[in-house]
């Protein structure tokens, strides 16, 4: 799908609601490829898994909440895996990231194994458990991480030694300070310093006292700290040694962890991919739940959609108090054509078909009552105005260039065209549309187009649908004139697609223009002109029979 097609199908409106929770899920979404022809079994497996997820957690909201809880807390250890692969030694915060991943990943893995036994898992429960144990040597498992004493039998003693030396350092400092405070009316502040007013009578004595030294002064204060006694210096030295020993063993623990996990990078990589995949599947299933998605069945030849809905269009209509009319349509290889009045939902049908096809190819349960479809290598939607001012292409030019590009593709994809030929004069436009339809009918790709040109109907090989259209006599009932056009239109328009069986090309444009509020005198004039012209002249312009 190119950007123009994405835009035409309102793809982003729905794609932006596809929200994996984990960093790996979000990354997988960014590079998610559609399923391609030849990948039907993988495609169906992905869809089956989503159905199973929905089934398993549909009646177990607490279980679903647990899955979401763990997914939302899953960290991404990819950076640490790279560190291990390049021979680096991860730090404490890196191991915490790995442990958080393993803690929540193991829970998810276990939950899914129980709830959806056929969900594809690339890792074994034992792998999770043993990796987690490496980062949690204490008997009780917990989500936090520290270099606890259980990592190395020497740690406990070294920590105790450090604490002992630290206590000595404090004691020596405290002893000196207490001595000073006994001799002078001073109290230390939170920083362990004495701040003395320079006008204080004690200042000369303090300056002379060998137990303390002045560390700084201001125009108002002198600040003193205890002088380091030989005892205190020794205590400091011993604490430093204890700290160095402790840090050396802590370093060894970190190196040991790195060595243990280096042989597990394969597992970690698979685990990250697995969690990303689980997250994608859960996010897909969540989104599809919103539209009551069904599994698209594989069919190598036919797109068959019953009750198809475009969720973004449906939501827009709902916000205006209107309702989406579900689409029933079958698109065979060759040419399929939709005719119908303006505002009859033809383009929406085109968009819905393209959207459902694309959604299916990206592995989603689709918004329809039923759907079967082939996997195609491309989907192109030539819908709306693709005028390219910079490259000097008009609406017509841009449309033709995109048709050419699609026809030149060597494979069979899905081509959606909205009123080909409408951008030029009706005589040539009609001829062009008919010729294009004939050409498409002979091809093995799938094409669906909307047209107002009756010449297209002359292509016998094309499969044609018509929108049921406006019902009831005349354009407007007297009461209808008073209500908003959207409501008036919805009341009178039957959006269903029916197989065409030779009926004349619909001529409701003036009725619809009336509903939309075109002044009656203009409409009268238009009707008069239709009456004045012979049927033949109108037919030549392709507007009706």
């Amino acid at each position: 799908m190119d950007d123009l097609t994405r835009r035409a199908l309102r793809w982003e409106d729905v794609w932006s609601k596809f929200r994996p929770r984990t960093p790996m899920g979000q990354r997988a979404k960014e590079s998610l490829p559609p399923f391609m022809p030849g990948e039907e079994s993988e495609w169906q497996e992905v869809l089956t898994e989503q159905q199973q997820l929905l089934q398993a957690f549909g009646n177990d909201p607490a279980g679903a909440d647990r899955v979401d809880y763990h997914l939302s807390r899953l960290t991404d250890p990819t950076g640490v895996i790279r560190m291990l692969e390049s021979g680096e030694v991860p730090k404490v915060s890196d191991w915490f990231r790995v442990k958080t991943f393993l803690w929540h990943g193991e829970k998810l893995s276990s939950l899914i194994r129980k709830a959806v036994p056929r969900f594809r898992m690339e890792t074994a429960a034992e792998e999770w458990a043993s990796a987690l144990r490496l980062l949690n040597p204490a008997p009780s498992l917990g989500p936090s991480f520290s270099l606890s004493d259980d990592f190395d039998s020497r740690l406990k003693a070294l920590r105790r030694a450090w604490e002992e030396e630290d206590r000595r350092v404090r004691e020596t400092a405290e002893r000196t300070a207490r001595d000073v405070e006994r001799d002078f009316p001073l109290r230390r502040n939170g920083e362990g310093e004495w701040v003395v007013d320079r006008r204080s009578g004690h200042l000369p004595a303090l300056e002379r006292d060998s137990r303390i030294r002045r560390v700084r002064e201001t125009p108002f204060d002198a600040v003193f700290r205890p002088v380091s006694t030989p005892k205190r210096k020794e205590a400091l030295r011993r604490r430093e040694i204890a700290a160095a020993r402790l840090e050396a063993v802590q370093g060894e623990v970190l190196e040991g962890l790195a060595a243990s996990f280096r042989s597990r990078t394969g597992f970690l990589t698979r685990a990250v991919e697995e969690m990303g995949r689980l997250d994608l599947q859960r996010a897909r299933a969540e989104l599809a739940k919103g539209w009551g998605g069904v599994r698209p069945e594989p069919d190598p030849d036919v797109f068959r959609i019953v009750g198809g809905v475009h969720p973004a269009v449906a939501a827009s209509l709902e916000s205006k108090g209107r309702r989406f009319s579900p689409v029933d349509v079958t698109v065979l290889r060759g040419a399929t054509v939709i005719i119908g009045p303006n505002m009859g939902g033809k383009t929406v049908t085109l968009t819905t078909v393209g959207f459902i096809a694309a959604l299916g190819q990206y592995g989603f349960l689709v918004p329809a009552r039923s759907c079967s479809m082939p996997l195609v290598p491309w989907i192109v939607g030539i819908i709306g105005d693709a005028q390219e001012t910079r490259s000097g292409l008009s609406t017509f030019g841009a449309e033709v260039r995109r048709i050419v590009g699609s026809l030149e593709r060597g494979s069979d994809g899905l081509l959606l065209i909205d009123e080909p030929g409408r951008g030029t004069n009706p005589v040539e436009g009609g001829a062009l549309a008919a010729a294009l339809t004939r050409h498409l009918a002979k091809r093995t790709l799938w094409s669906l187009q909307v047209t107002h040109f009756r010449e297209v109907l002359e292509v016998k090989e094309a499969r044609v649908y018509r929108v049921a259209g406006l019902w009831g006599p005349g354009a407007l009932s007297p009461e209808g004139a008073e209500e908003p056009w959207e409501r008036a239109l919805e009341k009178r328009m039957d959006y269903r697609l029916l197989p065409w069986s030779g009926e004349p090309m619909p001529r409701n444009a003036l009725d619809i223009a009336g509903i939309l509020g075109l002044p009656p005198d203009i409409l009268r004039e238009a009707r008069k002109r239709i009456g004045e012209k012979s049927d033949g002249s109108m037919e030549n312009k392709g507007v009706g029979k």
């Binding site: 915060s93 990231r97 230390r188 502040n189 939170g190 108002f220």
Partner: protein, 352 residues
């Protein structure tokens, strides 16, 4: 002593500076020492970045934040690696800092740390909740430079404001700015039920809400800075009261003077007031009032007479003058008064 804190229900205490280098970290460390001595479990977090060794702007060395053993900290995980063995890392939050996600950790020993700040109010509230769930009895919130937002009653229970010499070159200038800041932080609570109702609606709907003829009416704009809309509104009738969902500035006050009659103005809380005392005095002289839906419980004002730029004010004079300005809020000097200076703060908090 502990009971007094409990009675006052001050679980979270913001330390906010009136300027960069005001001396917040020293106050924070003094509070931490005191709480440690009482055996209380403390949680530390910052709004904005703090705890760097050197001030980002002036490059002057700053005192580190020192956490007693057992304390909880919220910071970026990478900042814990320097002394990795001294921490138990507890959980990663969904909140982000430029240095990575905010991680909650428990200090296993006394440890110095840089606090990477939580940037949004909602984030701070989230961390406060998680700290409480993990048993923090007292939470100290370091409000980074100019972040008086940390003092917001919607975030913390009480605040200590630090007035440092760095604010102004002269003691008179410092006093003027301190008076202004303290006046704004201690704006009174709106008592009139109609005003409170208007303020609640303004906060909920994020728009101006007026009072006229005894009725509360939502107005079609969200700020006094939208000049044309405000003029339209003011011209539309005699508004006795007005509730603002956001900030109040001098320009906003000026616009209100166009009403031609006194107005009772109400804000969500005092941290939304960014007006000068001069404008406010003029506003008051016209018979208008300014109050808040929720007030800041100002536990104390800490003074620091030393500026990192090299000048110092007379500590005694500064404390005395500040105390006069701030009365009855207690004033203390964390460096000179030592931990004893905290007694009055505790009394103030427990006194309600």
């Amino acid at each position: 002593m502990q009971d007094r804190w409990k009675k006052g229900r001050v679980h979270s205490l913001a330390v906010v500076g009136l300027a960069k280098n005001a001396g917040k970290t020293t106050v924070l460390n003094t509070l931490a020492s005191r709480l440690e001595a009482e055996g209380r479990s403390v949680g530390f977090l910052s709004i904005g970045v703090d705890g760097e060794e050197r001030d980002v702007w002036t490059l002057k060395k700053k005192p580190p934040v020192v956490l007693p053993p057992g304390s909880l900290a919220a910071t970026a995980a990478s900042l814990l690696d320097e002394k990795g063995g001294d921490w138990e890392l507890l959980e990663t939050t969904p909140l982000n800092t430029p240095l990575g996600p905010v991680t909650l950790a428990r200090a296993l020993r006394r440890v110095r740390v840089k606090l990477a700040g939580v940037t949004r109010k909602e984030g701070v509230r989230e961390v406060l909740t998680r700290f409480r769930e993990r048993g923090a009895e007292q939470i100290l919130v370091d409000g980074a430079y100019d972040r008086k937002a940390a003092a917001s009653p919607w975030i913390t229970d009480a605040a200590i404001c630090v007035a440092g010499a760095a604010i102004a070159r002269s003691l008179d200038g410092l006093m003027e700015k301190t008076e202004e800041a303290v006046h704004l932080l201690t704006l009174p609570e709106a008592k009139d039920p109609l005003l409170r109702s208007a303020a609640e609606q303004a906060v909920t709907e994020n728009r101006l809400v007026g009072i006229r003829k005894g009725r509360v009416e939502a107005l079609p704009c969200s700020s006094l800075l939208l000049a044309d809309r405000v003029r339209e509104v003011l011209d539309g009738g005699e508004w006795r009261g007005l509730a603002l969902p956001g900030s109040l500035t001098d320009r906003g006050l000026e616009r209100l003077r166009g009403a031609g009659h006194p107005v009772d103005l109400v804000l969500a809380d005092p941290t939304r007031a960014f007006v000068s005392l001069r404008s406010l005095r003029r506003f008051y002289r016209e018979g208008s009032t300014l109050s808040c839906l929720r007030v800041v419980r100002l536990a104390a004002v800490a003074v620091n007479p030393v500026s990192p730029s090299g000048y110092t004010f007379d500590p005694g004079e500064m404390k005395e003058r500040t105390a006069r300005i701030c009365h009855p809020v207690p004033v203390f000097d964390a460096v000179r008064d030592g931990v004893d200076g905290l007694e009055e703060i505790k009394r103030n908090i427990s006194g309600g």
